[in-house]
Amino acid sequence: MTATARHRVAALTFAGGLVAHLAAGGLSLLFDAPAVFRAVRILATVVALGAALALFLDRAVWTIARNTIAQAVRVKLAFVIMAAYLVLVLAIPFTVRGDGTLRGLLNVVINYSLIVGGLLLGILSLTLSTTSLWSEFRDRQIFLLEAKPLRRWQVLLGKLLGILLINAALLAFMGLVTWGSVHYLVARAERAAARIPAAESFKKSQAEKGLRDAREQILAARRTVLPDPPPESDLEEFIRRNLDMRARQLEHPERLPPEAKGIPDEATRRAIIRNLAAAQLAAEFRGLVNAVPPLFTRVWRFSGLTAVPRTRQATVTLRFKFFSSDRKSEEPDHVCWEFGVPNRTKWYQSRPDAAYLPDEVHELQVPADAIDQEGVLEVRFTNREPRKPTLIFSSTDSIQVLIPVGGFAGNLVRALAVIFLEVLFITILGLFCSAFLGFPVSPIVALAILLLTLLASTVKGELDKGFTFDQNLTSPVARAAEKVTRVVTTVLDAVLPPFHKFTPSALVSSGEEVSLGLVHEATWSLALVYGGLLMLLGMHIFERREIGLAVP
């Protein structure tokens, strides 16, 4: 098979993989076979990834890649990044104390190391990707490349491969530094704990607890389990009881919803009103089940915890955050937590004086023998605050159980893989811009797109949470601006890559699992769909560019 035919087959296979993945996603909405479609999507991702990698297996591409690496190494850019990283990261364990605990320190060190690493790599990738091709134009080496038997897409792909290899090497280095820093800090804490004399038993036990917390909560990969939704029967019962009254209220001329206004047919109007009433009641039910009035108890049920060994030594983590209806108070609210399945497991209860600040995330370690044989854990929450506020668990993920599923090293590797995929997209974005723009326009445009990507999801998130330009919506300008912003951010959020979905540093620094599913999603989304399509478009544009004109 000739090289050209091989390239065509690889490109077609890549396109086929993308189409198969999208088709599986579409069909899964119509047919109820999630396992089958999940398998198809994974297979399609692997096929598309394999085809993309096959395009890299080309001598010309590797030659350009080697030259790109030589350029980065000999102009010492890669070393500058490494030095900057070392200076910024290695100073952290000695300058930051966190919240005074080893757990807090590790959280800061891991989070900071990965954020700084990702940021430096992002800067490096954007710099290299936008200047590497441009320097070929500026110094006219592109004339000589054009006179050699290679296609322009091979030049672009070679640049991408070179930058990716540099990124991979630097990321491996950064990963090792992070891993080394963490283990150094743990070893230092262990030595400090060992030096505490046995006579100071409280201090020693505190130090050992700090070490245990760090190991269980940071140096682990913990999977998040959300509570089971309230049974549908409860919701149906709630709606059934209240629907008639709510519908009558809505039929009142002053409360008549706009959707029902002006409909002459009585039956149709009534049906619309009943549907609206049911929707309102469903929303109210969700609010009610997440709100705990004074002296009331709310029960959550977590199932599927079979992976945890049901011993007293093993623990799972309960993470929660609630709001208080008493917004003026800055005092902690007194509550009671209870864990265990009645008559089936051991029963644990928090201390009677347990109190927690609202609006903050808290974690409790729950012995794993509170989980029953079927992997079910019941959690009861009682509002005992004497000031009698209602305590509200606002969203579905404001209470969750974290179960250990792996170690720190594997989690760190998966987090680095996600960072690599993020940086891969940035590199492709830079190369795409430099395929048709000069310097410094291409890095500015690439940076603008990147910032827009981050900004669009943030603004959309805030708008979805209820942020408004004008609380009373009295100003027509503010209303119009808000409407335009909503439309623009919704479109941008749908079109631009979903960077906000991937927060590997936050996950790994809080001991949460960076799952293979997340890596798969990042591979599919950032590398193959957005990256792959952008790269194909860039190669297409570059192939048709009149290079002799572009040279300054």
Binding site: T63, N67, D139, E146, A147, P149, L150, I547, G548, L549
Partner: protein, 405 residues
């Protein structure tokens, strides 16, 4: 007899390139209705003043620019065809290489891009570096090279894939007279091996020395095209050359010639030498008078390839090389000059295979004059290295088989 399109290495038909401004309004007509045919195996000179469209034509032939109208065929194919690029060598008007690579890495890089095997690359890279006289600086990054040295490595990269067609844009720019002479001799050697050379230059003397045919561009239009001998011949005059005569004999000759032409149409005097020939002779004499020392020949093309170029060190250094070669690379100063070619010959023998028989292609006037003084041993060595580096186009190659559309 009409030529077949296969006989042409380069063909353009009514080629026009108009540069436009941001608003797509025509700004400059750089090439205007250019119809050009470069035959296989000839050296064609595209001449013209600065801004006449020479470099734009080269860029069009390479696919760096797209024609506004008209057609281009290079080796019988469209200019952006990858198979064409595999048979093409290009030396731009300035040497656009990677400053952080050294000579060997540069040639290795372009050799890999040209699809040469590892063995072939190793063989050709070493031989080319020796051929262009950069063996002593092969491990220095190109940013440290002088302009002349960079030009040499640029020429080497153009030859790395043993091209059938060479596009040379101002190949002697930045070179001293000796270097320029070497390049011209190289072009003639390549022509002897059946290669086609399209040469752009505004240095007319250089083009005159090597070109079979020339075309003169002005304002993007081809003003004149034809063979150098035909274009330069003054057929209305007759020249008689005699050994130097005493004044009375000169008067007699003048009287005798008076029978054939009017006295004011007769010129009798001493012919004037060309400056280049004079310069080369002066260098040769200086070398004879003052033997060059160790590193003297460093930075020159391989002397066994190009006769008459074993030039004295000081003169060459003063004229061409602001960057001194590293002393460690230089042979001992006490070594006699005559030994240096032997050392290089040894390198060449190690690098080269048994010389292949060389057919004598169509003679050109300048080439004949040069070859008249050529030593047989030098010629043999030159052939041996070039045979290694440069192959004759095979008669059954794609280029000759494929009919041109």
């Amino acid at each position: 007899m009409a030529q077949k399109s296969d006989d042409y290495a380069v063909q353009t038909l009514q080629l026009t390139k108009v540069f436009r401004d941001f608003w797509r309004r025509p700004k400059v007509r750089a090439v205007d209705q250019l119809t050009l045919d470069v035959r296989r195996g000839e050296v064609f000179g595209l001449l013209g003043p600065n801004g006449s469209g020479k470099s734009t034509t080269i860029k069009l032939l390479l696919g760096l620019l797209f024609p506004t109208s008209g057609g281009i065929r290079v080796l019988g194919r469209p200019p952006r065809d990858v198979s064409v690029k595999a048979r093409l060598g290009f030396l731009p008007e300035e040497t656009y290489l990677y400053p952080y690579l050294n000579a060997a890495e540069t040639l290795e890089f372009f050799g890999r891009l040209s699809g040469l095997s590892r063995h072939e690359r190793r063989r050709r890279v070493g031989a080319l570096i020796e051929m262009v006289g950069l063996g002593h600086v092969r491990n220095r990054p190109l940013r440290e090279y002088s302009k002349g040295m960079a030009r040499r490595i640029g020429l080497a990269q153009a030859l790395v894939n043993d091209p059938e067609l060479l596009l040379l844009d101002e190949p002697t720019t930045g070179l001293d007279p000796l270097g320029a002479r070497e390049v011209k001799d190289l072009i003639l050697e390549l022509k002897k091996r059946g290669k086609t050379v399209l040469l752009c230059s505004h240095l007319l003397a250089h083009a005159e020395d090597v070109c079979d045919r020339i075309g003169i561009l002005y304002g993007g239009k081809l003003c004149v095209s034809g063979s150098v001998a035909t274009l330069l011949a003054k057929s209305q005059l007759t020249q008689i050359t005699l050994p130097a005569l005493p004044p009375e004999e000169t008067a007699r000759v003048r009287t005798l010639l008076g029978e054939f032409a009017q006295p004011d149409a007769i010129e009798v005097g001493h012919p004037v030498d060309r400056l280049e020939s004079f310069f080369l002779r002066a260098i040769e004499e200086a070398r004879q008078a003052r033997p060059e020392t160790g590193g003297a020949a460093a930075g020159r093309f391989e002397p066994s390839l190009f006769r008459k170029l074993e030039a004295p060190a000081e003169v060459i250094e003063r004229l061409t090389r602001p960057v001194e070669p590293p002393p460690v690379e230089a042979p001992p100063p006490s070594e006699p000059v005559g030994a240096e070619p032997d050392v290089r010959r040894e390198i060449l023998e190690r690098l080269t295979e048994k010389p292949a028989a060389v057919e004598s292609p169509a003679e050109d006037t300048v080439g004949q004059a040069n070859r008249a003084t050529e030593e047989p041993a030098d010629a043999e060595e030159r052939r041996s290295v070039l045979d290694r580096l440069v192959q004759k186009p095979k008669p059954d190659s794609d280029a000759t088989r494929k009919p041109s559309p």
